[in-house]
Each structure stands twice: as C-alpha cells, then as structure tokens.
Amino acid sequence: MPELSFLLAQVPQAVADGVLTGAIVALGAIGVSFGLQILRFANFAHSELLTWGAYLALVVVAFAGPGTPIGPLSFGWQLIAAMLLAALLTGGLAFAMDLVIFRRLRAKNANPLSMVFAGFGAALVMRNVVVLLWGPGTYFYTNELQIAVEVLPGVRMLPDQIFILGFTFAVVVLLHLYLRYSRTGMAMRAMAESPALALACGVKVENVVRWTWFLSGALAAMAGVFLGLSPQLHPEMGFNLLLSLFAAAILGGAGSLVGAVVGGLLVGLAENLPILVISPGYKAAMPFLLLMLVLFVRPQGLFGERS
C-alpha cells in the first residue's frame, strides 16, 4: 500500500485524467441519453457511431493530411475540419440507420425490446464493416509527438487533451443554449417528457426523432475523433466505451443534457481515482458501483425527472 502523502500527490493528476475521459464519455453519452428518453429505447448501436465518426475523419485526414500543427497541438486545421465533416456524415449515417431500421419498427409499433435487439444487430454489422474496410489494426491521426505541460500544480496534460476539454465544453454550452431556446430544442424536451402530448400539440414527432438521430450521430462522431486522438483508432474503440456511455447516461438521468455531462465526468472520475488504491483490473467496474449507489437513492438518476 503506497504512503498516504504519495497517494494524495497523485490525486490531482488522476482527477485531470478522469475529467478528460469523462469529457469524451459525456459527448457520447448525450446521444445515449437522448435515445433513452426521446427515442424511448436503449440504442446499443450508438457506440459504433463513435467508431464510424473517428474513421470517417480518418478518411478526410488521409486525403487532406493532418496539416501543420496549430501551436502546441499535434494536428492542424485539417483535423478540425475533418471532425466537423465526420460529424455531418455520422449524423447522416445515424439518420440513415433510423430510416432503414428503426423507423420501420416504429411504424409497426414494435416494442422497445425489439428496438434494442435491432440495435444490437446494427452494431454488429457496423463494427464488422469497419473491420472489412479498414482492417483490424490501429491508426493514428498524426505522428507528431507532444510534451505534456503543467496546467496546475501536480497536473500535467497534453495540449491535445486541453483542446478536447475546451472543445467539449463549447459544444455542451452550445447544445444547452439550443435545447433551452430554440423551438426544435423545446420540442425535443417536450418529446422527452411526453411523446403523446407532443403529438397532441401538433409537433411533427417524426421530424424531431430524425433530428435527434442526426444530432446524436454528430456528437458521437466528435467523441470518436477525440477518442482517436487519445491516442489511436481501432475497430472496437466505440464498443469498448459502450458500457461507460450507458452508465453515464443513466447515472445523470435519461433525457438530461446536464445529467449526461455530469454522468460522463463521474464515470471518468470513477474509472481513474480508485486505481490509485486498488488494482487497475477493477477500473471498469467502478462506474457501475457508483451507478448502483446512485440509483439506490435516486432511481431516476441525478438529474432525471421522476415519471
């Protein structure tokens, strides 16, 4: 057992690592949370959208190159542009997934369990198509080496990681403003509370559903690119994050943007802080321990609304 003073000295860095992991998880968990509350089912194919987003950005980078690094970052404007393009394409992929699979099931009044299993099937297909197209190996967006900088006493981060945190924060703020003030954002929140009442109000629920798919896909792509930046892409990168995404969404409370973000951060911290004192082998189990503790007290999650 390490000495207490040594452990305490490690805490700030573990918190920083946890926040970074949490930021990526949060971006992915927002889509899962939307899925649970607005689309009304657990979409297990969501994690594959992260993988696809990362690989679609890779294709753009392969054509355009990573570009001259911006300042201390390991990549240039090309990767940022590639990420935005991948977000659009992955949003379109999510939209297409709904069109081909889930919309048909909704039209037949399929129960949520059928939707869940359809999601499992879609996930398997999507993951194997990635292997088919890009192979099972790993890829990097850039080969630039980075040196960690001290951002706070006892906390060192790579410039790319600082960028990820800043970009994620900006996306979350923009998304919050969108959900809070735009008419479509309000309709999404209305749908999250009561699809039947939203329908009775004349809301075009199918349009809201399609937009939710698109938005979830776009956010997943950004999470995927950030995951690929730290540090590599591989076909199971999204799948490996699947349980963390669901843990974050449920911990925060389905349908809540703030909940997904806080849930993501808590999952990140739960994965990184306990390994200071216990074997890293238990790392993956920690978020679920936290999830169980929270759900015992608040079954609707931290920011979820009691139905």
Binding site: R189, E193, A196, L199, A200, C201
Partner: protein, 246 residues
C-alpha cells in the same frame, strides 16, 4: 345556426385494427357554439375526440374541418388545419416552463404568429403571465388546465376539443374553466368537449350529444337534454323528481 366548422359523419375508430370502440358516430359544432358529449364510462367519448384529431386511427367515416376532410391525416396536419386538442390527463409538460409550454403549442405556426399567440394567452390568463418562467409543475390543477387550454389556442384554432376539462378540479375552479370556455366561444371558437360533469357542462352548452356503447344515442339542444327525463335518469345522474344521483 352558422355552418359547422367541424363535422363528423359515421366515424369508426379504435386502437386495435378490427376492434372499433367508436361505431359510426356523427357530430358537428359551429363557430361560437359550445357542444358537450356525455355518456357513461366506456361509451367511446374520449376515443371519438382522439379520432377527430388523428390520435386514434379512423377506419371509416368523414371528418370535415372547414369543409376539408382531415380523417386519416397526421395529427400535426390536423392541428395546423385548425383543430386544437386538450387531453384529459398529463396535459402540460411539467419539466418545461409555462412560456416553453406555449411555445411547443405553437410549434406549427410562424414566429410572428407565435408571439401574437403568447401575448393573447397571457392576456386571457394573467395568472400564467405571472409565472411564465416557472416550470409547469408548480401550477395548481386549475392553472394547469388554463395552461393546457392556452397552449391548444396557440395555433389560433377554429375548433377546440377538450377531453374532460374539469376532471379533478374543485367546484370553484370548474366554474372558472367553464366561464373561460364560454368566453372562447363568444370570441368565435367552436368548442366541443367530453365531460363527466354532465349537468354542469350541459348548462354551459348550446347543444349536446349522448353516446353509449360507441354510438349516438341522443342529441339536441342542451336545455332539451337536461329536461329529457330518459336522458337525465340514464346519463346525467338525476333521479325521478330532479334530485342529483350522486
């Protein structure tokens, strides 16, 4: 009487294909009228209203809204065509503010029309204006009903359908809701509602329909229905001699 704004003829509707709950119901309501549908539990009253607004599929019959057959259209199109609907339960978004509830109600209209609708709603229900930025969960039962009605009016509908608008409200608030509905009708809106509080609703109404087992049983002027002994005893809860049944 002016021409009906909403007219249904022979509507057959139900939740499960092949098992209709409404068996060929006809009804109409004109501008400025308040019309109440009464009947025992399970008569298909609420299902009929939901069928009119497209929330329950119709398998036969016509629903003319301002001379346009809207039967079978998606609810969003029917609402946009001029039909407002206030459901019985869970009729406000409790996690949204009052202002956001109104905005969602005006989802199908232009921004300018939305702004006008919001101002009109606050003028009609000042209690809502005072709490515009509060979540709807803080509202009392009567205020929630006001909000549900105000939200349904955001599209400036020609016809307003209400499913038991006074359910669960105190007698004082019931009177206020009915007064609001009468005021709406005076402004030219056609009001068609389903009510369990049959006697009070018919007193407010111009005409009424009695449904039983998913079919039209009686119809006529509200005063005539109230005076009809058979209707009163069977459907309004009034025993011989005029005493309230419950």
């Amino acid at each position: 009487m002016s021409a009906p704004l909403l007219s249904s003829r022979g509507v057959v509707a139900g939740y499960v294909p092949g098992l209709p709950i409404v068996h060929g119901v006809s009804a109409h309501v004109a501008a400025g009228e308040v019309v109440t549908i009464i009947g025992p539990n399970g008569a298909g009253k609420s299902t009929f209203l939901k069928a009119l607004v497209g929330l329950v599929p119709t398998t036969d019959g016509t629903v003319l809204l301002r001379d346009r057959d809207v039967a079978g259209l998606p609810t969003s199109e029917i609402v946009a065509a001029g039909l407002g609907f206030v459901p019985q339960t869970g009729n406000v978004f409790t996690t949204l503010t009052i202002h956001e509830n109104l905005t969602v109600g005006g989802h199908t209209v232009s921004r300018a029309a939305l702004a006008r609708g919001v101002e009109r709603a606050y003028a009609m229900f000042p209690a809502l204006a005072a709490k515009r930025n509060e979540r709807a969960r803080v509202l009392s039962g009567g205020q929630r009903q006001m909000l549900a009605i105000a939200r349904a009016l955001m599209t400036d509908p020609a016809v307003l359908l209400l499913d038991e608008p006074t359910a669960g409200l105190s007698p004082k608030v019931v009177g206020e809701v009915f007064a609001d509905l009468r005021q709406l009708a005076t402004s030219g809106v056609a009001v068609l509602m389903v009510e369990q509080n049959a006697r009070a609703a018919l007193r407010l109404s111009d005409r009424g329909y009695v449904l039983a087992e998913g079919r039209n049983r009686f119809e006529g002027q509200a005063a005539d229905l109230l005076a009809d002994r058979a209707v009163a005893e069977a459907f309004i809860g009034v025993r011989h001699g005029g005493a309230e049944g419950h």
